[in-house]
């Protein structure tokens, strides 16, 4: 298998830190082996930048085998690049042709602050998990395996949801920057299984409230998330989340429990996300989306009131 080399031009986002405005930089990368992965190509570009005494391009990565969810940027307008069901680290340069100009941008969402170049803070996803993406278990000896029989199809569905690696590509591609696919995967993997049922209502309410409070957008069923998800998490999970949430909101007595560590993302220092197991800071009220909800429901009350009034008037008028 002979290897080709191609010459490409990167139009890559450079931003010194979270406060910097940022801009695109054009970098020519020559003699790229087409068997390289996209990240290896970035490494090559970085080596040259370092040799020239310049700042290398910062990007997140860890496993480089498509399982950890650390990598990811938007390549030519599509998160994780043009390949279906693939993380950026699994994308190879043979997808590109000699002379291609490739635009590389970080995930863009209000909830994801750009820390440096292509690195964003995906801490908000962790905060959503803190709000309820777990099951409470007693410490002590491990329970018997298979003590609770679970049908094969249910286990499969739960596994499909659990395939989510938390990369954030769904948020990045969503026209509304909504995290619904991520949250739906995390709610589904537990709601489907008997171990997750006891806390299901509390989990759905708290995780959705946290998602809203962190400044993610509202899902409007575009389905773009499902198309870019490297793990092909399906929007069937979003329907399940909707069901779980409506059920919890209407029939359960569970209450929203926002995580203690719900601190506005802007206050976090510009550190890579893997290296910051910081202690939870005291809670700060996250007003913005709750006040939006108040305005909304307030106006609905007022409208309903006007509507009832108008109705009484109207029916009187039509009788007299």
């Amino acid at each position: 298998m002979g290897s080709d080399t191609i010459n490409i031009t990167l139009k890559v986002w450079r931003q010194k830190n979270a406060a910097d405005k940022g801009r695109f930089e054009t970098i020519a990368v020559n003699d790229v082996d087409s068997h390289m992965s996209f990240l290896e190509m970035l490494d090559t570009a970085n080596e040259k930048l370092i040799l020239a005494g310049k700042d290398p391009i910062a990007f997140d990565n860890d496993c480089r085998e498509g399982i950890c969810g650390t990598c990811g940027c938007v390549v030519d307008g599509i998160p994780h690049g043009p390949n279906k069901a693939m993380t950026l680290c699994q994308l190879h340069m043979r997808k590109f042709a000699d002379g291609d100009v490739i635009a590389v941008e970080p995930w863009r969402a209000r909830a994801f602050k750009v820390l440096k170049d292509l690195m964003v803070d995906r801490g908000p996803l962790d905060k959503i998990i803190q709000a309820g993406g777990y099951v409470s278990v007693n410490t002590g000896s491990a329970p018997d395996a298979n003590a609770i029989p679970i049908p094969m199809e249910v286990a499969e569905k739960a596994m499909d949801a659990a395939a989510c690696i938390g990369c954030g590509a769904c948020v990045a591609t969503c026209p509304n920057a909504s995290a619904m696919l991520f949250v739906s995967a995390k709610v589904s993997q537990l709601a489907l299984l008997p171990q997750g049922k006891p806390e299901a209502a509390q989990r759905a309410l708290s995780m959705v409230a946290t998602m809203d409070a962190l400044g993610f957008g509202n899902c409007t069923n575009h389905k773009a998330c499902e198309a870019v998800c490297p793990k092909e998490v399906s929007i069937v999970n979003i329907a399940r989340l909707n069901r779980e949430f409506i059920k919890a909101g209407v029939t359960s007595e569970a209450e929203v429990d926002l995580p203690l560590a719900l601190v506005p993302a802007a206050e976090k220092s510009a550190k890579p996300r893997a290296a910051s197991p910081e202690a939870p800071k005291p809670a700060k009220p996250v007003a913005q989306s709750t006040s939006g909800g108040m305005v909304l429901t307030g106006s609905i009350y007022i409208l309903t009131f006007l509507f009832v009034l108008g109705f009484i008037w109207q029916s009187l008028a039509s009788f007299l």
């Binding site: 899902c219 870019v228 329907a239 909707n242 909800g293 909304l296 429901t297 009131f305």
Partner: protein, 234 residues
């Protein structure tokens, strides 16, 4: 005028409001807003189906159509209930839609330099807020043309009013265009509302998706041909 008693604020009013927090929290959340859109949207689809069925009497001639209008008006208070019900649902749909549009616009302060659809998105889904606003404008226009609240219907029959309007080709064009916009809105709205209500099931979703497309075509053709037909009859 004496206010009905329950509407006077009671001392423990705030306490009662607080116990309703579950409702405001549920409806005010991102999923709650979606549910409001879905439920009101479903009612409009039902309304459109009924409206279309009634309008088909136009093909039966002036008497059939005028008779249909008379029957409707004979409903009296029930018609009022339906009208105000629709108005209320409409207010919710428009209001929540605008809130969603604004919040979602704010959710990505820095836009991408390169935009490419990875799939999933459709013209219908991408244009929902815009087709929505166009439909709002159209409905105001439509009511101002034909509604008994804006047009005196004591001297002329509704058939006369309608055929006078569609004698003007500009009106015909506007109405046909508006119906295409409605079809686009419904093409995303119909399957989307089932997804929102959690009714996405591998057995039924394919049928629901097809039904959504069929419905939008039926609305586009069914309503869209009426002005053309009347224009040729007149």
């Amino acid at each position: 005028m004496v206010w009905p008693l329950p509407l006077i604020p009671q001392p423990n009013c705030m306490e009662r409001m607080r116990t309703m927090a579950w409702l405001t929290q549920t409806l005010g959340s991102s999923i709650g807003k979606k549910v409001l859109m879905a439920v009101s949207g479903l009612s409009f689809i039902g309304f459109l189906a009924g409206h279309l069925a009634g309008n088909l009497t136009i093909y039966g001639g002036a008497d059939a159509f005028n008779g249909y209008a008379e029957q409707l008006h004979a409903l009296g208070p029930f018609l009022a209930v339906a009208e105000f019900g629709l108005l209320g649902l409409f207010a919710i749909h428009v209001l929540v839609g605008l809130v969603l549009f604004w919040q979602n616009f704010q959710a990505r302060p820095v836009r991408y330099a390169v935009n490419k659809s990875p799939g999933g998105k459709t013209i219908g889904s991408a244009t929902m807020p815009y087709t929505g606003v166009l439909i709002l404008l159209f409905i105001i226009f439509h009511l101002s043309n034909f509604s008994r609240f804006f047009v005196d219907q004591s001297a002329t029959t509704i058939y006369q009013i309608v055929s006078n309007a569609f004698a003007n080709p500009v009106y015909v064009g506007l109405y046909v265009l508006a119906m295409l916009v409605v079809a686009l809105h419904v093409s995303h709205g119909f399957w989307s509302l089932f997804q929102t209500l959690g009714l996405n099931h591998s057995k039924y979703m394919p049928a629901i998706t097809v039904l959504g497309v069929v419905l939008s075509v039926v609305f586009a053709l069914g309503f869209g041909f009426l002005p053309v037909y009347i224009a040729f009859m007149a």
